[in-house]
Every structure is written in C-alpha cells, then in structure tokens.
Symmetry: C2
Subunit: 485 residues, 2 copies
C-alpha cells in the first residue's frame, strides 16, 4: 500500500470513530434512559482513549515524513497538510497532561454545577484555577512559532486567528454596539408571544420541511439544549426544545439547520479525510447565524413562519411575529440575548478569558471584572454570580478560546449574506415564499464545498473578496435602532 | 500495574467497545434515517476492526501466560479462564481468513436478499457454498482437541455442547413431537384475534410496566424485527412490532423482556469483565422462552394480558386470549410457528447445517432435503424455496451452529420452570395477578447471577440438579394435544 493510502485509511478510521462518538453523545442527550449515565461515561471514555491513541500514533508521523515534498495532487496535498496539523497538535501534548486535562474538565463541570446551583463562586474557584493553569500549560505545548498562549488555544477552534486582530475588531465593535443598546431597546422593544407548544411543533416541522429536511436523511428531536450532529452525509440530526409560549424553538431550529446544511454540502470527495467537515467554529457559527439572523429574523421570512404557525392553529400577523423575533432588551444572560446585545456578551468573555490565560487576571478577581464589564457594555447590574460569571459551562469544561466564534459567526454571516445578495440579487421574494434553493446553492459553492481546505480568514476572503469586517453586521442591526441600514 | 489489572483494564475496554457497537446497531434498526446505511456500515466496520485488534492482541497472550498458575481469587481465576478461551478463539483465526469471513457474510446477505425476493436458490447457491467452505475452514482453526468442525462452530454460541448429544436429544424430541402435530392442531387449533394496534400498544406498555420496565432505565421502541439490547446495566432496550390484528407484540415483548432481565441480573461484580453477560445462546433463549411460553402463554397470565388489552379498549375473555396464544398449526415459516411445531423447524435446520458443515450434504441438494424434512417433521409441502430454505438469514450471514439454541431454549425454559415451581410452589396465583417478584428472584439466584462463570450444561445442572432433558418441555406441551401434562 502506498503511504498516502495508509494515511487515508487511518484518517477514514478516525473519522468513523468520530462519527460513532457523535452518535453516542446524541443518544445520551436525546434517547438514553436517565440512569444510563455512568456506563455511558465509560463508553465515551474508551472511545476517546482509542481515538487519541490512533490519532497520535507514531506511524502517522512516519507517513507524514515520507510524504513530505512528494508528488501529490492538490487534494492529497491538503489532506497531508491538515493531517500534519492535527497530528502535531495531538502528539505534542504529553500523555499525562492529556489525562489530567480530561480529568480536570470532568471535575470542573461537576464543581461548576454545584457552584451555580448555590451561587457559590468561591467553591468553584479552585477548579477554575486548575483549568486555567492546565490550559496555559497545554497552550505552551501546542503553540506555533510566534503564537501567544491564548492564540494557541484559539487555534483549537479557529486556526490562524490572531489575538491582536480580535482585540481590535471587538474593540471597534464595542464602540459601535454599546451606544445602540439604549435606543434600540426603545425603538425595538422585546415582546413575547404566547405560542402554545403544539403550534410551535407544527411550525418547526413545516418550516424545516420547506428547507429540505425530510425523514429519509434527517431526524428532528427534542433535547434539553438544542444541538445538531452529523453521523454521516445522509444522517443529519438536529434537536430543539419547546418552551411554553415563546418562539425560541423556531430560531433554534433554523440555527441548527444552518450548522447541518454546512456539513451536508461539503464536497463528498473530502468525506472521511482530514478535510471533511466545517473548517472552524466561527465559520460554523456563521452558517447557523445566517439562517437564524438573516432568514428566520428577516421581515420577509416572518410570512412563512406566521403561515406555519397558522397551520398549527396559532394566528399572528407576520409583522408582529417579526417584531417578537428581533426585539432588543439587555439582560445578564447570554443564551437568550437578542441579536444586538449578543456580541457584547461575547466581547466580555473574550476580554476576560484572554486576561485569565495571559496571566493578567486572577480567578479570584473574575466576579468583580464580570460585573464591571456588564455595566460598561450593557449598562446593567449582575444580580448574582449564577447569572454572571457562572452562567456558562465552557471554562468549567476547560474550553478557552471558544467564545469568540459566537460573535465572529454573527459578523461573518452578515458579510456572507451581503455578498450572497450582491451575487444573486435580493432574496426578499424567496424569503417571503420560503424558497431557499438559490441560497443553498450559493452557500454550497462559496462556503460549504471547501470543507477544511480553507481556514477561516482565507475562506472569508475567497467567498466575499474582502477580509473579515464589522460593517455588514452593523448595517444589519441598524434598523433595530431605528437607523437606515 | 499488576498483570491481572492490565487484563481487567483491557477486558473493560473490550466490554465498552462492545456496548458501543450494540448501541450503534440499535440506532441503525430503531432511529437511523433510511439513507444513513452506507456510513453506518463503515462505522460498524471500524469498530469491529478495532475491537478485533484489541481483543486478539499479543500482549493479552503474554498476560495470560504470566497469570497461568498464579495465585488468584475464584472470580479472577474465572476471568482469566474465559479471557483465555475468548482470546484463543480470536487469535487462532488468521487475519486474512477473518477479513474473508466478514466479506463473505456481507456478500452472502446481499445475495440472499435478492434470491429470496426472486425465489431463486440457484442464484444464491455460490454465496452459500462459499460461506460453508469458509465456516468449515474457520472451524478447523478454532476446534479444540476432539471437537468436530460443527462442534467447533457450535462453541461460538454454546460452549461445550456435543453434536452427538444434540443428535440424540433432537432425535428423541422429533419422535415425540412429530406425532403430536396432527392431534394438537385439531385439539388446539390456531385462531387469530383482531386486536387493533392501539390496544396492543397499551397492553404491551401496561404489561411491561408490571414487570418493572420503567423509563429511568429501560426503553421500549418499535423495529422491523423485535430484539433486545443492553447498553449498560441501567440502560436496557427492547423493541417490538405491531401487526394489524394479532397479538404477536405481546409474546415478543415478553420474549425480549426475558433476554434483558437476564443481562440485568448478572452479578454486578462481573460487569465489564470476561464473565459479564449471558453465558450462551441457549441459556439466553431459555430466558426469553421462559417469559414467552411459561408466563405469556400460561392460562393464568392471560388474565393480566386481557386486563391490559381492556385498558386499551379491546375486550376479550382471558380463556379466548389464551387459546389464541397457544393454538397449533403447522406452517412452513419458522418465525411465526406455534410452541409445538417450533422445535421441529429447528431440528430440520440442525440436521441440515450439520450435514453441510461435515460435508454430507451438497449445497445444491439443500432445497430437496428441506422439502423432504418438512414433510417428515411437519407433514406439509413447502410451496417455494423463499418459504423454504431461503427463509432465514443465518446461513447467508455465515452463522452455522446458532439454530440449535432456539430449540434448546424451549427445553431449558421448561426444565427451569418446573424447578422454579418445585422450589417456590405453584406460581399460578402470581401469574394471575402479574406479580413476578418471586420468579425474578429465583432466576437471579439460580441462573442470572453467574454470568459466564458456568457454561450451558453446568448451569442447567446447578440450577435444576439434572442434566438437560426433554421431559419438562413435553409435559408443558401435552395439554395442547389434549393429554394431561
């Protein structure tokens, strides 16, 4: 067997194991009887250990060395390039540190759950300190030449982003957004609709069916927190949840649909290689935000949603429904934030995790820094740590560098959407009738098909002809504050 | 780490991987979108290859050699004994043969599906010939001293059974059963009840709930063919199917419940070792048949089933329901056979697969031999090969030596049931009220808790004080033919 074939075979195996792990996790969150948890943790642990062992194996390093500088076609060259990147990231972390990181992540989440329930930051601080210390230690192992520790962690989610660029981008975004919060919450106040659950269910099913979600290759289920997963190119699964009397289920369904459509439209030739799947967390989030912000929250698509709610027996004018989907209201909680305040929540987290990892902020000072930031960015007081710096699981699980992708996704979505309409003309008529084929095709051609061949910045420039910028997102938000877009 | 701990760690890993594979297969049959099949086959293939590699690894042989004759407690001694048995069976099969067997199994099932749909035995014969040849080749690799090739294959499912013993047992069973078919189909004719599906669903849910099936550690779903699976000790899943107007769903639910209860009641100290799980296919089948034949088909439990059907809106006298569950009618199809003719279907398959593997029957002569056997055993003509020797998937998948367990399960169930009632008194009052705690405890104590520590024959003797025998089963059947039991 040729070396490239050996490498491809191993990558296919790793891809298959990854799919199995996604399925096992999906089952845990959607189907598993409650008491199945302890056995499930052992099963996922066994899968993770084996996947790590096969993915960090020395023979991969040998194959990569043999392939270095050899004659390969363009796809195989990229396969080798990404395989080398992945293998180096894994194999640079000593086995003992990897085990310690996994243990600290589990312990941290347990400690966090207790602390959040009791609003007890001090009880959780030691676990967070340990996570920060271990993350910084891992960052030093995997950092490439010239990367700061934080940038090294960022590369887990978004390869190639620079902390300085993010700081500048988020700084100017903060300058623009913070002053809009007051006017927007007056001009577009948040209003909640009392939509019965059966009407929501009918509207979710009907809307997704219009977008091509059909039972021969999709599942739509319910879970405590909405998520999407892809077990195979024709086995895509999204979940949502139905709260009493709100329409979050509509937004979250389209959000998860966006993630899944991305994975489904990657070039099939890249399947089960190192190039399969979405290229980064921020591009992934841009795909979910595109369907959430630019489709579900558009005035035109509100006609489709209102019609589908009507099928479910709930009557609402499209204009009123749209208003309820875009209303602005500063609140301490990220996950329920509106499109304008959402990035401000992220900017705060970025500032704080950067400072934690770079050693500029002590864990004990985090609650005060959080309160100060929320006053500065959103003008609100944080009532408790449970509704403040204890609200997210990410740091408890040892994830640092993840948060920026949530805000970047909003910016990238807006930038792609402007280019999509520049290339294909206004989509308003399509949105009003729920006809999305042109959008799906443009996304496939300009974003999805590349898989991991292009990193975040390169993909944005290839798709839009410009570097990442905040202008399109600000233009998208302007009407909320009563300004022309 | 001590050698026994290394071995235990590997066995736990193999157990976890096995649980993952069971979950992935469950999902495939119960949840997966139809088009997910090709990716799923790759995922299961990757799991199977890795599990084989970890289970056949040379270091296991070294650990076993180091542990040979060492000081171990009784459980660890049995762990080593079974681990050695499993490891030798796997590692004696050359890698190329294992790959060829897997491929032939897949090809064989594809060929069989086409052949069955077109009633075209000749088109399938080459695939079956290949399966027979490869199974015999594997048998020669794994046969222990003094084992015939067929016995070596039988050991995959039921370690320690001898072909000669089976031949004698089944021969005398045939002598007893075949003459009963005519009288029984007159005395207890098969009558079908027209039970609407919603009533069946209510009765299945209500009956299983009485047996302890509760949602925190069980799932009950629908699949094309009923089966049960155990992902962890508190994550048990059974499936059933609802046909129009019959009560097969009631029988199959209790059948699958019996399999699952066995796995749940194995001593927890044996979990994730080589001793975990049911000891053999025939003992497993005895547990499902005990709940199917001796509970669901008992005159007393018919009162419970009738009551639960009543809750679902279908009214039927218990006596009439019982009659519909035990009626006798010879038919060419195994899976829908009644309790009396069922073992005769199995005896035919045993005779034929023994002859195929031992070289006494050519594949081309199989259809004629099948027709002759059905006339001799059941007195009926086989209309087509599709309803004859093409009806089962087992040989197409390369499984030889599996069939006997279906008949053995019926015999063992009856033998255990007689002993259970001898030890605890008649269960009639309990069955009439659906109170099964005494039965569950007796089975846990006398059968389930041992896991794989006792092989089939040893377990039967330990539980009942006697070797396997046909008498109890014949006494169970006697009333169907109008004889005293």
């Amino acid at each position: 067997m040729q070396t490239i074939e050996k490498l491809r075979e191993r990558l296919a195996e790793l891809s298959d194991l990854g799919s199995v792990a996604m399925l096992v996790e999906w089952d845990q969150l959607v189907m598993m009887p409650a008491r199945g948890g302890p056995a499930r943790a052992q099963q996922l642990g066994a899968l993770a250990r084996l996947t790590h062992e096969r993915g960090a194996a020395q023979e991969i390093g040998q194959w990569l060395a043999e392939l270095d500088g050899g004659e390969l076609d363009a796809v195989d060259r990229d396969i080798v390039r990404l395989a080398r990147r992945d293998w180096e990231r894994i194999s640079r972390v000593p086995q003992e540190l990897a085990v310690e990181l996994a243990r600290a992540s589990t312990d941290g989440q347990e400690s966090w759950q207790v602390a959040r329930a009791n609003d007890d930051f001090a009880g959780y601080a030691p676990a967070l300190e340990r996570n920060v210390r271990l993350a910084a230690e891992r960052a030093r192992c995997v950092a490439l030449e010239g990367q700061s520790p934080y940038e090294a962690l960022l590369s887990d989610y978004d390869f190639g982003l620079r902390a300085g660029d993010l700081r500048a981008l988020f700084g100017s975004l903060e300058q623009e957004l913070a002053p809009m919060v007051g006017p927007a919450s007056k001009h577009s106040p948040r209003r909640r609709l009392a939509v019965p659950v059966p009407a929501q269910q009918a509207a979710v099913a009907g809307t997704l069916a219009r977008l091509g979600v059909e039972p021969s290759s999709w599942r739509v289920d319910v879970s405590a927190h909405p998520f999407s997963t892809w077990i195979g190119v024709d086995d895509t699964r999204i979940t949502t949840r139905y709260g009493d009397g709100d329409v979050e289920s509509l937004l979250s369904s389209l959000h998860e649909y966006g993630h899944s459509l991305y994975e489904r439209q990657v070039d099939p030739a890249l399947a089960r290689t190192s190039l399969a799947g979405g290229t980064s967390m921020s591009i992934h989030e841009s795909q979910s935000k595109l369907w959430e912000n630019h489709v579900a929250r558009s005035p035109a698509f509100a006609h489709v949603l209102a019609q589908e709610l009507g099928q479910g027996g709930f009557s609402v004018p499209a204009e009123e429904l749209h208003a309820s989907l875009v209303g602005v209201e500063p609140s301490p909680v990220r996950v329920s934030a509106d499109p304008l305040t959402y990035p401000l929540h992220i900017i705060l987290r970025f500032e704080l995790e950067l400072a934690l990892i770079e050693g500029d902020l002590a864990v004990s000072d985090l609650p005060a820094a959080w309160r100060e930031g929320m006053r500065r960015l959103l003008g609100i007081d944080v009532p408790t740590d449970a509704l403040g710096c204890l609200q997210d699981v990410h740091w408890a699980a040892g994830s640092f560098g993840y948060f920026p992708s949530y805000a970047l996704g909003c910016l990238i979505a807006a930038q792609l959407w402007e280019k999509l309409e520049a290339d294909t003309g206004s989509r308003e008529d399509d949105l009003r009738t729920g006809e999305v084929a042109v959008m799906q095709r443009w996304l496939a051609e300009n974003v999805h098909r590349y898989g991991r061949r292009l990193d975040t910045n390169e993909l944005i420039e290839t798709a839009t002809g410009r570097a990442l910028e905040a202008g399109p997102f600000l233009r998208y938000l302007a009407p909320l504050a009563g300004r022309g877009s």
